[in-house]
């Protein structure tokens, strides 16, 4: 039985710039940053999620990625075609204000949706994320 999803891939056009974006703007922490020859293993994650991370993969040709495919992939990322997934927040509108002030580019402002409040932003390479505050994300509540 598959239990968890632990690593997801985010293709980035510049690993140094991406590292700065994810840590300094989004507030993620670096989990791994090591070099293996020309290969750089760089992972980041929200501090509140100990058992999962995003792999910030450079777009470059390798044993299983032809140069032509790498070029196509870069074009898709930079065009904003690829989605990176959903990032959950407890307050979408607050984060929208904070991230906008830090220079994060939002594709769509926070909107009330059937499932909560959602905004869309792009990372520094062009990958789009949903920033979602789901209904029911609440603080401590008393129960008698």
């Amino acid at each position: 039985m598959i239990l968890k999803h632990s690593h997801s891939t985010i293709y980035v056009t510049d690993q140094d710039r991406a590292k700065a974006f994810y840590t300094e703007k989004l507030g993620f922490e670096v989990r791994d940053d090591v070099k293996l020859g020309d290969f750089r293993w760089l992972t980041v994650a929200p501090k509140t999620q100990p058992d999962a991370c995003m792999v910030l993969m450079p777009i470059k040709a390798g044993p299983m990625l032809k140069q032509a495919h790498a070029d196509m992939l870069r074009e898709l990322v930079e065009a904003g075609v690829l989605g990176g997934g959903v990032l959950s927040t407890d307050d979408c509108r607050r984060d929208y204000e904070e991230l906008t002030a830090k220079g994060v580019r939002f594709v769509r402002e926070p909107m009330q949706m059937p499932y909560g409040v959602e905004a869309l932003f792009s990372d520094d390479s062009g990958t789009m994320f949903s920033l979602t505050q789901q209904h029911g994300s609440a603080t401590s509540s008393p129960r008698s």
């Binding site: 293993w41 501090k47 993969m57 390798g62 044993p63 990625l65 609440a138 603080t139 401590s140 129960r143």
Partner: protein, 144 residues
């Protein structure tokens, strides 16, 4: 009336993260629960409950996990079990070894033998880098 602690949000979550960051920064010394509570500006009980809700483990369990992961890296680098034990903040080799065995399933020495064989045989860092990433980017890598 009793309170059900759900995941903290906003300013309270940020204060909790400060305590969590203190654990990371002082993994060898191991801050006390009182110190962590002071850092977060919370009572010991509320901090403990919030920690479990947010990170899935109580502060002392979280610290043990950090120490264990640190110990793995130190052992993979060739340090003796005794050196690894003290390096990560344990005061007793017996306690360290039994906890390692309980959590990892094998003794520190056995883990070191196994890992160094893989690390040295394939020239890989002692890190969890999934093969799907290595296959794509590292020419020399081939699964054992």
């Amino acid at each position: 009336m009793r309170y059900v602690v759900v995941m903290l949000t906003g300013a309270a979550l940020r204060r909790l993260l400060r305590a969590r960051d203190q654990l990371h920064a002082e993994v060898q010394r191991g801050p006390t629960l009182d110190e962590l509570a002071a850092t977060a500006g919370m009572s010991r009980a509320f901090l403990s409950r919030s920690f479990v809700t947010t990170f899935g483990a109580a502060p002392h369990q979280y610290l043990s996990h950090l120490r264990l992961e640190h110990a793995k890296r130190v052992l993979a680098g060739g340090a003796s079990v005794t050196d690894a034990c003290f390096e990560v903040g344990f005061e007793s080799v017996g306690t360290f070894s039994s906890m390692f065995h309980r959590r990892v399933g094998i003794s520190p020495r056995a883990w070191q033998r196994h890992t160094r064989a893989v690390v040295q045989g394939l020239g890989l860092p002692a890190l969890w880098i999934p093969g799907c990433f290595l296959l794509k980017y590292v020419q020399e890598y081939s699964p054992p």
